[in-house]
C-alpha cells in the first residue's frame, strides 16, 4: 500500500467519524418521522403477506350485506300493483279495446263529456215498456 493510499485511508477514517457525528445530531422530530415512515412500510409489507384465505374472515359480514341486498330486490319486485281493479264478469277484450278507443278518440271524449244519463235511462225504460206491452 502506498503512502498516498495510507493518507487516503486516514482521511476516510476521519470523514467517517465526522459523518457518524452528523448522524448522531439528527433531531428527535426527524427520527420520529422516520420511525413513522418505517412502520407505514412494515404495514404495507404485512398487507402484502396476508394470505388470501384470511379474506374469508370477512365473509360473514359480506354475506350479510349480500343477503340484505337480495331481500330488498326480491321485495321490490314482488310488491303488489298500486291499484288493480278487478275485471267484471262478462267483460271481454273487445270491451276493453272499446274503452281504449274512446280514450284515444277526442270526439268520443266530447260525447262522454256531454253524457245525458237520465235521457238514456228514460229511453231504455220506454223501450222495455213497449216491448212488454207489444
Amino acid at each position: 500500500m502506498s503512502l498516498v493510499d495510507e493518507t487516503l485511508t486516514e482521511f476516510e477514517r476521519n470523514a467517517r467519524v465526522v459523518l457518524a457525528e452528523s448522524l448522531a445530531r439528527v433531531d428527535a422530530r426527524t427520527r420520529s418521522r422516520l420511525n413513522q415512515a418505517r412502520h407505514a412500510a412494515l404495514d404495507t409489507a404485512a398487507a402484502r403477506r396476508r394470505p388470501w384465505w384470511r379474506g374469508l374472515a370477512l365473509m360473514p359480514a359480506a354475506g350479510a350485506v349480500a343477503a340484505a341486498v337480495l331481500a330488498t330486490v326480491l321485495l321490490w319486485h314482488h310488491q303488489p300493483a298500486a291499484v288493480e281493479l278487478p275485471l267484471l264478469e262478462g267483460r271481454n277484450a273487445s270491451v276493453e279495446a272499446t274503452d281504449v278507443d274512446l280514450l284515444a278518440d277526442s270526439e268520443a271524449l266530447d260525447l262522454m263529456e256531454g253524457w245525458d244519463g237520465p235521457f238514456y235511462e228514460w229511453a231504455a225504460a220506454e223501450s222495455d215498456a213497449n216491448g212488454e206491452s207489444g
Partner: protein, 199 residues
C-alpha cells in the same frame, strides 16, 4: 389458487412465524438504514422535508415490491430506489424552478416559517471539542453539497453506509470501475477542501 405471486416467492404461502420473522428482519433493516438514508437524501436534495419524503417513498417501495427478496439484496435495492427518488425530485424541482422563474409573483409563498423548536439552541453545554466537531460536520456537509451528485453518492454509500464497491455499483446502477472513479474524485475534492480540518 388465487394467491398473490411476486418474484420467486409466493408471499401468501408464508406461515405466521415466517411472516413475523420477515417483518422483524425488515424492521431491523429499515431501522438500521433510515438515518443514514436521510443524510444521503438531505445531501442530494438540500431540504429536510424533501429528504424525509424520499426516504419514506423508498421504504414503502422496498416493502411493497422487494420484501420477499433475500435480505442481503435489500441494501443495494433500497439505495437504488432512494437514488431514483432523489433524482426524480431533483428533476421536478428543476422544472418547477424554471416555471416559477416565469411567474410574475414568486418566492414569498415558498418561504416557510422557521420551526421555533428546531431553531432553539440546545441547552447542552458545548466544550471546545464539540465546537471543533461542529465545525468539521458543517464543513463536510457543505463540501459534500458542492460535489457532483454521482461523486457525492459514491462517497456517502462507501463511507457513510459502508457498502463495498460491488454493492455501491448495484445501488448506483453503474459499473464497479465507475464507482471507483467517482469515489476517488470525491475524496480528492474533499481532501482539497477539508484537508486542514481532517489531518
Amino acid at each position: 389458487m388465487p394467491a398473490a405471486l411476486h418474484g420467486d416467492v409466493d408471499l401468501t404461502d408464508l406461515t405466521d412465524s415466517e411472516a413475523k420473522t420477515q417483518s422483524r428482519a425488515l424492521n431491523q433493516f429499515l431501522a438500521g438504514v433510515e438515518v443514514k438514508a436521510f443524510k444521503i437524501a438531505q445531501a442530494g436534495l438540500r431540504n429536510e422535508d424533501d429528504a424525509l419524503d424520499a426516504v419514506q417513498d423508498a421504504m414503502l417501495q422496498l416493502a411493497r415490491a422487494y420484501a420477499d427478496r433475500p435480505e442481503q439484496e435489500w441494501k443495494p435495492l433500497f439505495y437504488r430506489i432512494l437514488e431514483n427518488r432523489i433524482r426524480d425530485m431533483q428533476r421536478r424541482r428543476t422544472v418547477r424552478g424554471r416555471v416559477i422563474a416565469w411567474l410574475p409573483f414568486r418566492g414569498e409563498d415558498d418561504e416557510e416559517e422557521p420551526d421555533a423548536i428546531a431553531q432553539a439552541p440546545s441547552p447542552e453545554p458545548q466544550p471546545v471539542k464539540r465546537l471543533e466537531l461542529d465545525e468539521a460536520v458543517g464543513a463536510l456537509e457543505k463540501a459534500l453539497e458542492g460535489l457532483p451528485r454521482r461523486q457525492q453518492q459514491a462517497f456517502l454509500l462507501r463511507t457513510l453506509e459502508g457498502l463495498d464497491v460491488a454493492e455501491t455499483a448495484a445501488a448506483m446502477g453503474c459499473s464497479e470501475g465507475s464507482v471507483k472513479t467517482h469515489y476517488f474524485r470525491a475524496v480528492q475534492s474533499l481532501r482539497a477542501q477539508l484537508g486542514d480540518l481532517y489531518v
